[in-house]
Symmetry: D2
Subunit: 506 residues, 4 copies
C-alpha cells in the first residue's frame, strides 16, 4: 500500500487574508493543504475585535472543509477531519480557525478528545467490465496517446504507468505537473510533439489529467472531432467534463492502471513501434528539437530563453527539485528542462497563480533537508514572477536552504526594454506616463537582493558566465545563490510554438 | 449494469426562495436533484429588477454545482453538467439559473451546442486487499451487525445484500431510508431490537449509512467502545467520520457488496444461527414486538399510535409507496409499518425537514401513474407536519393521484389538548396568551381540506372506523382520500423506546 | 420624536430553511425583521448533528447582521445589536442563531451582560442648501409629481407630507406599499392616472420610493427623458440609482419633508390648481375611473375582478388592515381598494413573494388584538396565492383572529378553466398531460378549508351573495371567515390598463 | 461644498486573489476603493477556463457592491454605480468583474449607455434637538474629551473641528488615522496622555471614531463605567455599538460639527482652561514626554525605538506624507512622529494588515507627483513588515518616486537576536530547528534591496549616521532611498506605556 500522501500545513496569523491565495491555488490544483488561521477572541466577536472577520465563511469557497472547533477539547478531532478531508478522495485545501482565546486558555487534559491519525486514503478500483472495454478501445486505436496528469503523480502511479507504456509501446505526454512521473527523456515521451500528438490522436487515455484549459477542453480544432477519450480519475464528477468520453474509469489512478495492465497481461498486446503514427510523432519531435537546439545555440547577445534553459538543463542534477513560475519563463522552460523523478516539479499549475515559486522552493528544500538527501532545489523565475515574493530570499538565507534561484530577466512581463531604449523613452516624459505597464526597470540587480541577506549573487550576460555561475552555485553547498540572467528583452518563444499554458481558445 | 439513477427536476419561478428548502434537504440527504430557477433579465441586473437576486450564489451552499449559462447556446451543456454532477459520485442537488431574457430570445439553431445525455454513473470497487481484510473481520466477529443505509438503496444493492445476509446468516438493521432494501419482515431483520443490536455488536458493517446523529455518531454509550466498524461508502470523505474504522471500503455499494460475496464464495462461511447473539437479539425482538402488540390492542379511546399503525400495517398493499413525516408519527410509524421493496419509502430523512411529505407523495404517485403499475401511495402525516403543505391536496385532486393520506391527529406537536381541556384552558384567557405553542386547534377536520377539492374524507375515532375507512380508501381507485385519525392527545411512544430520530445525545 | 419603529420577530426551529424566504423578502422590501433560529449543539458541529447547517452563513446574503452569540452571557448584547441594526439606517432583517445546547445550559446570572434596549433610530436631515435647491426646482416645475413610497410610511411622514401636498397643492402618487400615507381618496391623489402622471411629469419628488422595476427604473419611455428627479431617502447608496437626479436629499424622510415645508413656509408657494397639468390628470382619472366603474357594474356572471373589488371597497371599514397577494388580484385590487391609514396595507411588495399573505394577516390581527382597537383585517388572496400558505387558517381559527379572508378564485394563475371546459379537456387525456400548468382545479371550495377549523365559509357566485357574505363576515366578530368568490376564469384587467406590478420593461 | 472624496482604483489580473487582501483591508477601514478584476471568458465558464473562479461571489464578503456587467454596453453604468456606492454613505470597497471576452469584443458605440459621473456624496445633518442635547451634555461635562477619528479626516472636517477645539478650549485625542486632522502639536492635543484621558473623561465626543478594539470597545476598565459618549457618525448602524451612548448624531461629520459650533455660537461657552482636568492631563503629558525624551536621548548602542523616531521627527518636512507599518515600529512611531496635515498619514489602520506600507507610499507619492507639490513620502517600516512587500522598491525606482523608506530593524518580529547571539544559537542546531519563529536573519542589509534597483541605500547604526543619512535622503530629490536602521534587537516600548494598537482586552 502506498504511503499516505502528505498534507502541507500553513499557519496564518489573524486576518488570514494572506493565506487565501494559497487556498484558491490549492483548490484549483487539487492539492492537499491544511491552513490553520488565528482569529479574534470569541467573546469580542461582533464588537469590532482585532482582525475580526468571518474567516471560516471566507474560506468556504476555496476549501473542502472549513470550521472553527467549538472548544479546545474538540481541536484534535477537527484537525483529524481536516487532514482526512484534505487527502481522501480528490485532494484539496481545508481550513481550521483557532480563536485567540484558545491560545492561553487551560483545560483539563482528560476532557480532550484525542484523535488518532486517519488511515491512508482508501483506494478504489474501476469496474472490471469498464476496464475491459477500455483495453479494447486501446487495442483498436490507430493513433493512441496516453496523457499523464498530476493525478497520476499524486497517486504514485509511476511504476504501473511506466510498465504500461513500455509493455504496450505507447506514446505518452505529461501535463505540466505530470512531468517526471515517467522521465521526460523516456523514448516514448512525445512532449516535443505535443500539438501534433493531441491533434491527430484517435484514442487518448487521460490518467489524472483534466480536460480544462491546459488541455484545450478536449475540443476541436485542437483534437479530432471523433477522438475517443478514456478518462481515468479519482473524482467521479470530473468524468465527462466538456466531452462525452468513450470509457470512464473511476478509481485510484495507480490501482486502475494496474487493472489495465492485468488486461494486457492476460491478452498481451503492443502498439506497433513502426506505425506511421510513431513515425509522424518522431519526425515532429526531431524537427521541434532541432529548432530548439538552433535557438539554444544562437550566439547573439543578450541571450534568448532557449540558450538559457539549454545551459540550465546541461547542469541540472538528475535528482533535483525543479520549481518554476513566470509566463514565457515557465512555459518555455517546461519544454526544455527535463524532469526525471515523479513529484519533483512544482509550478504555477492549473490556476496559474504568480508568487508561488519561492514558497514552493522553500517547501521542497525543507523536504530535502529533512530527507538528508543532499537534493538541490532549482527555482527558475521570471523577473516579474520573482517580484511577487522575492523577499522570501530572507527566509532562504535565514535557514540556509539548498536553493539555486535563477531570475530569467527580460526587464518586463512578456517583454521589456533594454537600458538604452528605456533612457530614450524617458525623453518623452516621466516613466509613469510613458512606460508601458508591462515594462519593469531595466537591468534590475535581483542578485543583490540575495546578497543583501548573505547569499551568493551572480549577474550574468553571456552563456559562459551562466555556465560558470551555475557550476559554482551547484558546487557550493554552504549557501543559497541567485543567478540574475539577462536575456533579450524582446525575446519570444519559437514562432511555431504553441501557446502552451497561455490562455486557450476553443 | 444498473440503470442510471433518475434525477428529480424542480422548476422554480423567479426568486427561487421557495426551492431552497428542497435543495438544503436534498443536500443533507444526498439525493440527486436538479433545480431550474428563473431569474431576472440580465440587462436589468443591479438596477432593482423584478425578483433580482444572486440566485446562483444563494444556491452555492446547498448544491454540488450552481451556474447560470453564459448564453442560450450553452444551455444544453450546462444542463448536461448539472445532471451529471447530480448523479455522479455521491448524489446531490444542482442549480441552473435561467434569466428571463432567455425565454423569448431567438438564436440560430446551429449555434447551439447540443449535448448528449451523460453515461450512467461510473461504478468503482474497493481495493481487493481491503475487501479481504473486511471479510476476515466479519468472519471473526462474535456479535456482528450489518446496517443498510439509503446509499445501499440508491446503489440498487438489494440483491447482493440479500444474498450476503442469507448466505452468511447475519443480522441486519435498516436505517430509516434504508428500509425495504431487504424486506422488513425478513427473518434476519433485527429492527425490533435496534438499540440492543447497536449497543452490543462487536463488528458493524455500514452499507451506505453515515455515522451521523441518526446512528448516534458511532460513539459510546450507544455502542461498545471497541466496536469495529467496516464502512462501505461511495464517498471517500465520509470514511472515518467520528470514529476510526477498522476497514474502509470505497466504492459503489452494490459492487463492493458483490466483492464481499466473492470472498464468502471462495471460502464459505456463515455466522452460527444458534449463537447467543442471535438468541439475545431474537429475545429482545420478541419482547419489543409483544409490547407493541400490547399497545396496539389497547381498547381505550382515543386510540394510541400503535393501534393506528397496527391497522394501517394490516391493510397496506405490499407494493405501495410509504411516505411519512412528523415527529412521533414518523418515528413510531417507522417501527410498525413495514417496507417490502427498496426505494419505496420516503420520509424526512437526515435533515428532518417538515413539509416534504405531500411533495414526496405526489412525486411517488406520478411515478406509479407513469409506470401504470397500479401502485398506491400511503402518506402518513402528523397533524403538525400536514400543516406545512396540506394545501397540496389541491394538486392531488387536480391530477387525481392514487394517494391515501392519513393524518394522525393528536391536536399538537408532540402533545395537544382534547377539546374539553382546550375549553377549560380558554377560561383563563385568550388562546394566544394561554395555549402552549405546541398545541394545535383540537378536532381540526383535516379531512374537509381534502373534501374541499373533491377528494374523499374520513373522520375516524375508533379502530373500527379506521379499518373501514382504510378499506374504502384502498378500494376506491377513482379518488384520493384523507383519513383524519383522532388519537389520544397525550399519546406517547413506549416508555422503553429509544429516542430514534429525535435529537441524539452522545 | 416618533416612536421607534417596531421590529418583527420570527422564531424558527433548527434548520431555519423555512425562514429564509421571509428574510429575502424583508431584505428586498427593507423591512425590519429579527429572525431567531435554533441550530444544532455546538459540540456536535461537523459530526453530522441533527439539522446541522451553517445557518449564520446561509443568512448572510439576506441580512444586515447575522451572528451566533459566542456564549449565553453575550445573548443580550447580540440581541440588542440585531434589533438596533434592524431598525437603524435603512431597515432590514437580522439573524441570531441559538445553538441547542444554550437552551438548557445554566449560567451564573451575574455573568450575563444585560443590555438595555437601544435608543430610537437616529434622525438625520438633508443639507440646508440642497433643500433650498430642491424647493427651487419644485417651484419651477411645470408638471410636478410627488411619489410617496414605503420609506415615507416607515418614517411616519404622513402629517408632514399631507401638509406639503395640501399647502402646495401638488399631485401625488403612492407606491403599492406607500398607499395610505395620505388617504387614497385625497383629492390630490392621482393614482387613477398613474401612467399619465409618470409619463409627463417634468419634476418628480421621490419620498422613500426607489427607482426599481416598480417605478420602471425612472427611464424612458415611461418617463420624459429630461424629467428631473428629486430623491429623498434614508439610504445614501440608493441616491442616483439608474438616473442622475437633479437633487439628492439624504435623511429621515419625515425630517426632510419638514425641511421642505420650512422652505415653503418662508417663501410661500403653491402649484396652480387650474394648470393644464392638473386638468390633464383629472381628466385621465375621470376616464379611468369611469372605465373601472363600467367594468364593476357588468352584470354578466361569473363576476369580473372589478365587480368583486367594487363590493369589497363598499363595505371595507375605514380603519381596517388590508392585506393582499396574488397576480391580477393584487394588482387590480390595489387600484380599486382604498387605504385611508398609513401602514395599514401589506402586500407582496418589491420582491413579489407569494405566500406572505396569511402571515401578514395574522401579524396585523395580533396587533389589532393587542391594541384592542376592534380593527379588522381584510385579506384578499388570489386562489394560487392562497395555495402557498392556506393551511394557516388553522392558526387563524386557533387564536380566533379578526380576519376576513377573500379568495378571488379564477381557477388558475392568471387564467383557468371553468368546470365544463375542464371536463371537456379531460376527454383528451389525463389532467397531468393535458392541463396547462397555470390551471388549478375548477370550483375548489376554499371556504371549506376555513370551515374545517371551525371558521365561517361562504361560496359566492353573484354580487348579491358577495354583498351578503361580506356583511355577515364583518358583522360577526366571534369568528374568522373565508369568502370564496368565483370569478370569470378568463377575467382580465382593463385592456387599457398598464402592467403595473408585473415585470417592467425599460 | 467639499470636493467629492476620491476613490482609489486597483486593477487586477484574472484570478484576483491578490486583490482580496486589499479589499478586506479597505472594508474594515471604511476606505473607498474600486477594484476591477479580469475574469475568464464567459463562454468557457464551468469548463475549467484559465483562472476561472466565481470572483464576484468571492468579493461579496468584502465589498459594498460586487458585480459583473451583463454586457459591454452596461459597463459605464456599472462603473458609475460602483464608484458611487464606494463613496456615498460610509465609504468602502466595490468590485467590478470584466470577463476576458469583453476586452477585444466590438460593439456599436451607439448601443453603449454612457453614464455621467455621480454627484458629490450627499451631506446629511443631525436632528437639531439632538445637537442641542449634545451641546448641553458637553457644557455640563466635568472632564470632557473629543476623539477625532478617520471619519473626520474623510469628511474634511478639519476647519470646523479646529474651531470647536479652540473656541471651547477642549482637549482632543486623534485615533491613529485621525492624526493630523488637527496638528499633533496643537496645544489642546492630549495624545501624550492618551490612557489618562480615556480613563477619566466623563464625557467623550466621538467624531468618526468607532468604539472597536482600537478604543477598547468603550468599556471599563479603560473608561469610567458612567462615561457619557456622544457619537457623531455617518453610519447609523455604528451608533450604539458596544455602549449605550448619551447622544447619537447621525450625519456628515463636518456638517454635524458645524451644527455643534452653531450651538456654541448662539450661547457661547468654553471649558475652563485652568480646570483640574486640564491640569491632570498636562501633567501626565509632561511626564510622558519627559520619559520619551529620556529614552530618545539614551546613548547606548544599538539605538532604541525612541532615539530613532526622535531623529526622524527632527528632520521630517511638515508637509510630508507619513506612511507606517509594523508592530512596535508603527505603535511607538505613532506616538513620536507628528502629523500636521489631515489625510497625510497612512498606516495599517483598524484591520492591522501588514504589507500595505509600500503600496500606500507609492499611492501617496503618485499623488504628490500629480500635485507637483514637491511633497515627500516618509515610509517607516518594521523589518518584518518590509518583508511582506519589499520588492515594491522596484516600482519605486522604476517611477523614481519621492519616497524615503526607513526600515527599523530589530532582526525580528517584536524581538530578534543580534548577530553574535544568533551564531551562539546555531551551535545547538540548524536554524530551522532552533531559531524562534519570530526571529529574522540578523543584520539583513535591506538597503541593498533598494540599491539593487538603483536607489540609494544606507546602513546606519548610530544616531549620527541616522541624522546624516536622513539629511542626505531628504536633500536628494533625484532618487528614492532606503535607510536600514539597526536597533537593539530586544528593544521594547516604555514600561509604563499602554498597549496601544496591540490586541485590546476589555
Amino acid at each position: 500500500m502506498s504511503k499516505p500522501p502528505a498534507v502541507c500545513l500553513v499557519v496564518s496569523g489573524p486576518g488570514l487574508i494572506h493565506a487565501l491565495g494559497g487556498m484558491a491555488n490549492a483548490n484549483m490544483n487539487c492539492w492537499p493543504l491544511l491552513v490553520i488561521g488565528g482569529s479574534s477572541e470569541r467573546r469580542q466577536e461582533t464588537m469590532g475585535a482585532f482582525q475580526e472577520f468571518p474567516q471560516v465563511e471566507a474560506c468556504r469557497l476555496y476549501s473542502k472543509f472549513s470550521a472553527q472547533p467549538s472548544s479546545i477539547e474538540t481541536i484534535p478531532s477537527i484537525i483529524e477531519k481536516a487532514v482526512r478531508s484534505s487527502i481522501y478522495g480528490r485532494p484539496g485545501p481545508c481550513y481550521i480557525d483557532i480563536p485567540a482565546d484558545f491560545v492561553n486558555f487551560q483545560v483539563n487534559v482528560n476532557s480532550v478528545k484525542y484523535a488518532e491519525c486517519c488511515m491512508p486514503p482508501p483506494v478504489s478500483m474501476a469496474e472490471t467490465s469498464a476496464v475491459y472495454t477500455a483495453a479494447s478501445v486501446i487495442r483498436n486505436a490507430k493513433q493512441p496517446l496516453l496523457i499523464i496528469g498530476k493525478g497520476a503523480a499524486y497517486a504514485h502511479a509511476e511504476d504501473a504507468l511506466r510498465k504500461l507504456v513500455e509493455q504496450c509501446k505507447l506514446p505518452f505526454l505529461p501535463t505540466p505537473m505530470g512531468k517526471g512521473v515517467i522521465p521526460d527523456n523516456h523514448p516514448n515521451c512525445v512532449g516535443a510533439a505535443r500539438s501534433r500528438a493531441l491533434q491527430f490522436a484517435d484514442v487518448i487515455v487521460l490518467f489524472g489529467a483534466r480536460l480544462n484549459w491546459i488541455l484545450h477542453f478536449g475540443l476541436p480544432p485542437r483534437y479530432q472531432p471523433d477522438v475517443k477519450f478514456i478518462q481515468v480519475d479519482i473524482c467521479a464528477e470530473e468524468l465527462g467534463n466538456n466531452v462525452k468520453p468513450a470509457v470512464i474509469l473511476l478509481g485510484d489512478i495507480n490501482a486502475v492502471t494496474k487493472q489495465l495492465l492485468e488486461q494486457f497481461d492476460k491478452t498481451p498486446w503492443q502498439y506497433p513501434p513502426e506505425s506511421s503514427w510513431w513515425e509522424t510523432l518522431r519526425e515532429k519531435m526531431k524537427s521541434n528539437e532541432a529548432a530548439s537546439k538552433e535557438l539554444a545555440s544562437q550566439k547573439s547577445l543578450p541571450m534568448n530563453y532557449y540558450t538559457v534553459f539549454y545551459h540550465v538543463q546541461e547542469q541540472l542534477p538528475r535528482d533535483c527539485f525543479v520549481v518554476s513560475e513566470g509566463a514565457n519563463t515557465m512555459d518555455i522552460g517546461r519544454t526544455v528542462i527535463q524532469n526525471y523523478l515523479p513529484r519533483h516539479r512544482l509550478d504555477a499549475g492549473t490556476f496559474g497563480t504568480m508568487g508561488v515559486g519561492l514558497g514552493f522552493a522553500i517547501a521542497a528544500a525543507m523536504l530535502a533537508k529533512d530527507r538528508n538527501s543532499g537534493q538541490r532545489v532549482i527555482c527558475v523565475e521570471g523577473d516579474s514572477a520573482f517580484g511577487f515574493s522575492g523577499m522570501e530570499v530572507e527566509t532562504i538565507c535565514r535557514y540556509n536552504l539548498p536553493i539555486v534561484l535563477l531570475v530569467v530577466n527580460n526587464n518586463g512581463i512578456y517583454q521589456g526594454f533594454d537600458a538604452d531604449s528605456w533612457k530614450e523613452m524617458l525623453k518623452f516624459g516621466d516613466a509613469i506616463a510613458v512606460a508601458p505597464p508591462i515594462c519593469l526597470l531595466p537591468n534590475s540587480h535581483y542578485e543583490q537582493v540575495m546578497m543583501a541577506f548573505g547569499g551568493k549573487g551572480y549577474f550574468v550576460q553571456t552563456p559562459e558566465e551562466l555556465q560558470k555561475s551555475l557550476k559554482q552555485s551547484l558546487a557550493d553547498t554552504t549557501k543559497p545563490s541567485l543567478i540574475n540572467v539577462m536575456i533579450e528583452p524582446q525575446a519570444m518563444r519559437k514562432a511555431q510554438d504553441f501557446h502552451w499554458l497561455t490562455r486557450s481558445n476553443m
